[in-house]
């Protein structure tokens, strides 16, 4: 019991501590690909610390919702990230939320972020919130259909069970899983406001979504939101990793050696995924905002196809 709680606590600390590092890694790789030196890997930590120490400047007519929202957004993202198997399955609280609930928790975070964008009453916040809502209306159903496809393959919506099933030889090569993976990557890119859907590096473009919503934030509030955004990226990468590359995931009560192996494997997975994302982002241009529905519509159709295949045949 104690050790299980300890593993769970490690997991919660781990995701928060690693999230800025992942962001730093992606920025570094992107900079190197552009032949720039780039900031150091730990620059995101320094940025966060500096933001935390600064005073928060809040617009005159901002309400309590504006000040509470960053903490709620961070807490929901954190709770969602805490139940995803990163280095070990069978976390003690893994049964509190299945995959559907995890996605819904991220939905709660988005709900409050979009509201916070509209709180001050500037056109920038509104543009960001309304576009975020539009992206969500396509990304969420795609995600749910992907979950359906996965759940029908593994016979469960419980992530630990899905990961255990995926690492067993019963999986084999399946068309539906391949399609689901493509759709999941597309949704993850859109959800995390990465290129080609949104540009995380700019505050200046009028096509921006996520950065427009948080334009009014500063100081500790901005730090919470930035941390939540990094955490969400880590969450999606962990999700893809634990479903599609569940190797070296330690089972429940596996002992320190297995945990260590799982941890090292997890770091490697993060590094590879981060590098791939950076490669992908440097080789694509950002889309116009009304091309995004086509991109996500393709993800939705792929996810529907994956689910349909599972309904039609057990072996696909």
């Amino acid at each position: 019991m104690i050790s299980a709680l300890l593993v769970q606590a490690c997991q919660m600390a781990l995701v928060v501590l690693l999230a800025p590092l992942l962001t730093g890694l992606i920025r570094k790789v992107k900079a190197r690909l552009l032949r720039r030196q780039g900031p150091s890997l730990i620059q995101p930590y320094r940025d966060l610390l500096r933001l935390f120490r600064k005073e928060a400047v809040v617009a005159e007519n901002a309400s309590w919702l504006f000040r509470v929202a960053p903490y709620l957004i961070f807490a929901s993202t954190w709770v969602a990230a805490a139940v995803i198997p990163t280095f070990a399955t069978g976390l003690i609280f893994s049964w509190t939320a299945d995959l559907i609930a995890i996605i819904a928790l991220l939905g709660s975070a988005r709900f409050f972020l979009a509201l916070a964008g509209m709180d001050v009453g500037t056109s920038f916040g509104g543009i960001g919130s309304s576009r975020e809502a539009m992206i969500a209306t396509l990304a969420e159903p795609s995600m749910l259909l992907i979950i359906f496809a996965l759940a029908l393959v593994a016979g469960s919506t419980q992530l630990s069970t899905i990961a255990a099933f995926m690492s067993s030889p019963a999986v084999g090569l399946r068309v539906s899983l391949a399609i689901a993976l493509v759709a999941l990557v597309m949704v993850a890119i859109a959800e995390n406001a990465r290129i080609p859907v949104d540009n995380p590096a700019t505050h200046l473009e009028l096509t921006m979504v996520h950065e427009a919503m948080v334009l009014e934030y500063s100081g500790r509030h901005l730090a919470m939101i930035e941390l939540a955004a990094s955490l969400k990226l880590l969450l999606y990468i962990s999700l893809i990793a634990c479903i599609f590359v569940p190797w070296k995931l330690a089972a429940a009560e596996a002992g320190p050696a297995a945990y260590l192996a799982g941890f090292i494997a997890y770091l490697a997975k993060l590094a590879i995924a981060g590098t791939l994302l950076a490669l992908f982002e440097t080789s694509f241009a950002k889309m116009r905002v009304f091309r995004v529905p086509e991109f996500l519509g393709a993800a939705l159709m792929l996810a529907l196809l994956a689910t349909l295949l599972r309904f039609v045949s057990r072996s696909l």
Binding site: F52, R53, E55, A56, V57, V58, A59, E60, N61, S63, W64, L65, Y71, F74, A75, W78, V79, F93, W95, T96, D98, I100, A101, A104, G107, S108, R110, F111, L115, M118, V120, G121, T122, S123, F124, G126, S129, S130, R131, A133, M134, T137, L138, P141, L144, L145, F148, A151, S156, T157, Q158, T161, E216, R220, M224, F290, P293, T307, L308, F311
Partner: protein
């Protein structure tokens, strides 16, 4: 037996209260007296139905009164299904009366509302107790007429008169369809007693016909597409606490009627009947919420969102029917539980949201969102409870809307085992539509809360408003608390509806309250589980811990300053995003197909001094494609028949003679 008598006396008491309201007419004490009496009576009915639901239903109490048709009498029965819906209905009526105590004070014509309010409640309760077709239809019509009178309370407004006209046409049409459905169910011998219908065998063709008539009858009352057109007009036209009752409770009475016939009276269902219900529900959910998203009138938006939730409930009911038809008892129990749970949830949060809209209406005199804004500063309690309602209806954890949608998704995941190919193709598509409408609902309620309560006031009416009275706030706080409770302790509700499920399906979900940590587990823990309580605790604890750590060890300094204006010092509230502009991206993505929305930008050439113009054109395809032709055909026929009014006496006499001959011929051929 006693509980049935208690509830019947409550109904009598409601009718007496209605009569009292007529007597007191314009006395200024009428409002508190009538709402107090309604409140106490519905509280009594609520407690009785709760107690009845907690006891076993081995023998459902029945009662036959020697009134009504001489050879039939009036049958009443209080079984598990009735008790559950009585509970939901009377909870809504109780809180609506409480709200009315405060809200009713602002009513300028109370004598048009007070007599009909208790009568409406009495009608809804009577439908739930009826145990023969005659009593059911009489009560149903009584409920429709009482609610129609409430819709027409402010009849000097031309829009309300139009809404009332459309409502009464659709309500009469619905009752007609129900009348025919019960006629078919009664069979040749005219067995109008529900017990006899339950015992009778129904041929598949007959059962299909009954189902279609039922979908027309109960579906038009519930707001099933394409019979929903009256709902977004009529529900908002009534005073807000009545809107809450119509949207939160009366639509549930329609669902009760549907469940009563399909699951109880009609015998074993056919799989295709489930398919029809499933598809109708999915289309209703998606179209309803899409229309809601485009709406700028706060109350009408809520009415459209009711249509969406009805769709969600019908999807679960359709799943339950298909599972039951294929003998998959556990899955059917899961789907029916999801439907009943959503019935309960929707009655809570839709009442809450209509109360909130009523509070905004009282404070500002506005229903148009484009004229509101910034109310969170001046109506703190209303805005907080409204926010809870928005989160709950958007199906976000840890509130109740998520728990029931989660169960519905779990039910969908049981469906690959279905043998029919049509279902194998349809169910994933339905699942996608359900997920789409959940996401659209979240977008819709971001818009509602963001435009109405956040930002800066768009008109002077919205800038200087007081918070509403304590009765209204009390009703809203109770509902918000219930939304949270049902969300974090869903096991209680699931166990509460399990007698209903086992009486209708013959199977039930596992007992949830025995599961450690109060999780809910529909099938087995390895397949899926959800724990709202722990999620709520985790979010609260981690958010408060973060706040504490940040404020203690980092910085707690705060400075107020002007918002970033992008270098344009023009600080008018009209620079904010509006409801229309918020919905624009979604309209471009979904509206071009679903409502033929077109945007026109008229941009003058450089040097031309006329202003640029932007206009949006969108259509209600169902109204234009279905109702306009029908109205046209009726008008055409009426014009043609009008000539019969101006015939000479000889022609009238020959017409009478011909009719007589024709009837005699028919009679001769018949026998």
């Amino acid at each position: 037996m006693t509980s049935l008598v208690v509830i019947l006396s409550c109904i009598a008491m409601f009718l007496v209260t209605g009569g009292l309201a007529v007597l007191m007419s314009r006395s200024h004490r009428a409002t508190p007296v009538i709402y107090c009496l309604s409140l106490l009576t519905s509280a009594a009915a609520f407690v009785t139905s709760l107690a009845q639901l907690a006891t076993s239903f081995v023998n459902a109490p029945t009662l036959v009164l020697p009134i009504g048709l001489p050879w039939l009498g009036t049958h009443f029965r209080l079984d598990a299904l009735s008790s559950l819906f009585l509970l939901v209905a009377n909870l809504g009526c109780l809180l609506s009366s409480l709200y009315g105590l405060g809200y009713g004070r602002h009513e300028h014509a109370p004598h048009r509302v007070l007599p009909f309010f208790p009568a409406f409640i009495a009608g809804m309760n009577l439908v739930l107790l009826a145990d023969d077709a005659f009593t059911f239809l009489i009560s149903w019509e009584f409920m429709s007429l009482a609610s129609w009178a409430l819709v027409m309370a402010h009849h000097r407004n031309a829009d309300n008169r139009r809404a009332g006209y459309l409502y009464i046409i659709m309500a009469s049409f619905g009752t007609l369809a129900l009348l025919l459905a019960f006629g078919l169910l009664a069979g040749r011998d005219g067995a109008y007693n529900f017990a006899a219908m339950r015992a009778a065998e129904h041929a598949p063709l007959m059962a299909g016909l009954v189902l279609i008539l039922l979908l027309l009858g109960a579906g038009s009352k519930a707001g099933l597409v394409p019979l929903h057109v009256w709902l977004p007009l009529a529900h908002p036209a009534a005073p807000s606490h009545v809107s809450a009752l119509m949207s939160g409770v009366m639509t549930k009475i329609a669902i009760y009627g549907f469940i009563r016939v399909t699951f109880d009276l009609l015998g074993a269902p056919m799989w295709w009947s489930g398919l029809i219900v499933l598809l109708l529900g999915a289309v209703t959910a998606a179209l309803g919420i899409l229309h809601a998203l485009m709406e700028r009138d706060l109350k009408r938006l809520l009415a459209y969102s009711t249509i969406e939730n009805i769709g969600v409930i019908f999807v679960s009911l359709g799943l339950a029917l298909t599972f039951k038809a294929n003998g998959m008892g556990l899955a059917a129990a899961l789907a029916l539980t999801a439907a009943l749970f959503h019935v309960f949830n929707h009655s809570l949060f839709k009442s809450l949201l209509f109360f909130g809209a009523g509070a905004v209406l009282t404070a500002t005199g506005e229903r148009d969102m484009e004229k509101l804004g910034g109310l969170i500063h001046r109506m703190p309690v209303t805005s907080f409870t409204f926010l809870v309602g928005c989160v709950a209806i958007s199906a976000l954890p840890p509130f109740n809307g998520f728990a029931s949608e989660w169960l519905a998704f779990q039910a969908i995941l049981q469906s690959p085992d279905l043998p029919q190919w049509a279902l194998k193709i349809a169910v994933p598509a339905v699942g996608g539509l359900l997920a789409l409408s959940a996401a659209l609902a979240a977008a819709c309620f971001i818009k509602v809360f963001g435009i109405t309560f956040l930002g800066r006031p768009r008109t002077p009416a919205a800038s200087e408003v007081p918070e509403v009275d304590r009765f209204s706030l009390g009703a809203m706080c109770v509902l918000a608390g219930l939304c949270l409770l049902a969300g974090i302790l869903p096991g209680i509700v699931i166990d509460g509806v399990s007698p209903v499920v086992s009486s209708l399906i013959g199977d039930r979900m596992p007992v949830q309250m025995d599961i450690p940590w109060l999780s809910i587990v529909p099938i087995a823990e390895s397949r899926s589980s959800y724990n709202g309580l722990l999620i709520f605790l985790f979010i609260t604890v981690s958010a408060s811990a973060t706040i504490f750590v940040v404020h203690r060890y980092a910085s707690r300094a705060l400075r107020r300053s002007a918002a970033w204006d992008c270098g344009f010092p023009e600080n008018s509230p009209s620079t904010q995003y509006t409801a229309g502009s918020f919905a624009q991206p979604v309209r471009r993505v979904f509206g071009t197909l679903a409502m033929r929305a077109r945007e026109r930008v008229d941009m003058p050439a450089p040097g031309d001094l006329r202003p640029a113009a932007f206009s949006v054109e969108q259509h209600d395809l169902i109204w234009e494609g279905l109702y306009v032709p029908i109205v046209g055909a009726v008008g055409f026929a009426a014009d043609k028949l009008n000539r019969l009014q101006f015939l000479s006496i000889r022609r009238y006499l020959s017409l009478v003679f011909l009719a007589l001959v024709l009837l005699l011929l028919v009679l001769a051929l018949w026998s």
